[in-house]
Amino acid sequence: MSFNLEAGRCLGLLGPNGAGKTTTIEILEGIKDADSGTILYKGHPVGKRFQTEAGIMFQSTALQDFISVHETLIMFSKLYTKNADLDELIRQCNLQDYLDQDNRKLSGGQRQRLLLAIALVNDPEIIFLDEPTTGLDPQARRNFWDLIETIKTAGKTVILTTHYMDEAYTLCDEIAIMDHGKIIAHDSPENLLAAHFNDVIVQLPKTDIPDTNDFPFVLTEHNDKVEITTSDVNLTITKLIDLNISLASLNIRSRNLDDLFLELTGKELRA
């Protein structure tokens, strides 16, 4: 694979389980060695300097037991020569109410915010986030998205992996869809959707569709609904009215990244 990322942009690496997202991100971080190839940062091969300018949030990391949130942040900040303002970081990651809490007693959301704060403790220029919101409830996820938006606003470069298409769509300037260790599509979410789809999906309850063989549309069943894929919504609706089908529960939706993902990888997300 080969790709470029401009400073200050947010790249999302998407792909099914086993596609190679974490391996790719860990090679970029310098945690794993690449079998071959080169990784350039600011025009030079990544080296020791990169480690001091990068912030990393792993998919799963244990923290030292019996140590508080504040002590953990102090410990990590002392491992670097360049540091972010700790008070500002605590406020930014909303950790002020848990500073004296033992690491073992943190909730999922609090823990992820602490891990993000650790990733930011050296005031990095580039930040790697490996599935940062996996396992969080919707409220905690939205809260985390706000934090990442704040980081982006500060001009940091962000590379994140995620299984959540809505997360990628909301946060990423560009996304790269991976499968079997290769990038199979790479562009902004809008461009990718425009390049692959020129149609919309019309959804109707299954019970509203007559049981006949000469129905003029190809139907895709999805739970208790059927879906009609069409590039001309007006014509489709006119035909449905002509067939005396109730439009009371009709729903029209644009194609999204979930559709693109399934279109390109041909399988459901293996979360």
Binding site: E29, G30, I31, K48, Q51, T52, A54, I56, F58, S60, T61, A62, L63, Q64, D65, F66, I67, E71, M75, F76, K78, L79, Y80, T81, I118
Partner: protein, 336 residues
């Protein structure tokens, strides 16, 4: 290049974690105290094995002493160094010392064992034997065993306190997180060695003085020399723990390997009983164990009042073992 700031940060945090882990801390302090006190009261008298006779053999023993040398329930131990053997008679560790070639024997005038063994010796032969009388205070079993127990405690704390912890950190991703920082493997491993060394020494010194206060065992050497030997032994065994934990990712495997190392060391390093008179293979195997050298050197300092120069052989072995274990461990170390 090693950063002192990062090293001190890692040491400080690790020590804080250990001290706050009350159950682990209590176990590390209470367990050895219980063992020391337990042994002091259970074996408050003489050595467990009674009726030891040292035999100085040169060429072929005269048949005139065969009757004595086949006495049942007496351990006949071949000795090579007469001076050491005489010292053991002075300390009641040997009931009698017999030179079968020159037909003479040494006895401690205060030893009850010596009294009985002398009676048996003289009644079993008609030849005239030259009697050499020595005197000296008895060394109780607790005096003899205490250096071994303290050394053994250091071994368990070093092997499991470092080896097991590193494997746990590797398994749960803590090491991987540290790898993503500027911390180097050498800094991390050095921090583990120093951190554990500080804890071991504080605990060992506390146990030494607190149990000595109640039991009052023999201490004829320098306290500083003793603690130097304990510190050197701790470094050696912590390094061994690092070597064991260099690559393992399973706590079960680490536990098995550490047990495989610690149990033979515990029984074959002369902690509980003297290796004199045991199978030569066992004695050679014991030479390879750091615990043997810590125990022997500590015992020499505490009981014989030996100085560091007297235990230089053991110091050399421990230094060499520390260097080999530490470098091999650092070379093989994997963060993940």
């Amino acid at each position: 290049m090693m950063s002192l700031k990062r090293l001190l940060t890692l040491i400080y945090t690790r020590n804080k974690e250990f001290v706050r882990d009350r159950s682990s801390l209590s176990w590390n302090i209470i367990m050895p105290i219980l063992i020391v006190v337990g042994f002091a009261y259970t074996f408050s008298g003489d050595f467990i094995t009674k009726y030891n006779v040292g035999i100085i053999e040169q060429d072929i023993s005269p048949s005139s002493l065969n009757s004595f040398l086949t006495t049942r329930y007496v351990d006949f131990i071949k000795v090579d160094n007469i001076d050491n053997a005489i010292t053991k008679v002075q300390r009641h560790q040997l009931g009698l010392l017999v030179d079968t070639h020159n037909l003479r024997y040494w006895i401690n005038s205060d030893s009850a064992d010596g009294y009985f063994l002398e009676k048996i010796l003289l009644s079993s032969t008609k030849v005239k034997l030259e009697k050499q009388t020595v005197s000296g205070k008895e060394i109780r079993y607790v005096d003899w065993v205490i250096p071994g127990i303290l050394s053994m405690n250091i071994m368990f704390s070093a092997l499991f306190g470092v080896g097991y912890v590193i494997v746990r950190y590797r398994k749960n991703g803590m090491l991987k997180r540290l790898k993503a920082t500027p911390v180097t493997a050498l800094e991390y491993l050095s921090a583990q060695v120093i951190s554990r060394l500080i804890l071991i020494m504080i605990i060992t010194i506390f146990i030494f003085y607190s149990t000595n206060f109640f039991i009052g065992y023999a201490m004829h050497g320098s306290h500083l020399s003793l603690f130097f030997i304990f510190a050197l032994g701790a470094i050696s065994m912590i390094s061994l723990g690092l070597l064991v934990a260099a690559r393992i990712t399973s706590e079960e495997t680490a536990g098995g390997l550490l047990n495989l190392l610690s149990w033979p060391m515990m029984f074959l390093s002369g902690v509980w009983f003297s290796l004199e008179g045991t199978n030569p293979v066992v004695q050679q195997l014991a030479e390879a164990f750091p615990l043997t050298h810590v125990t022997t050197a500590a015992r020499m300092i505490m009981i014989d009042g030996a100085q560091l120069v007297d235990v230089s052989y053991h110091i050399t072995i421990l230094v060499l073992q520390s260097i080999i274990f530490l470098f091999a461990g650092a070379f093989m170390f994997r963060w993940e």
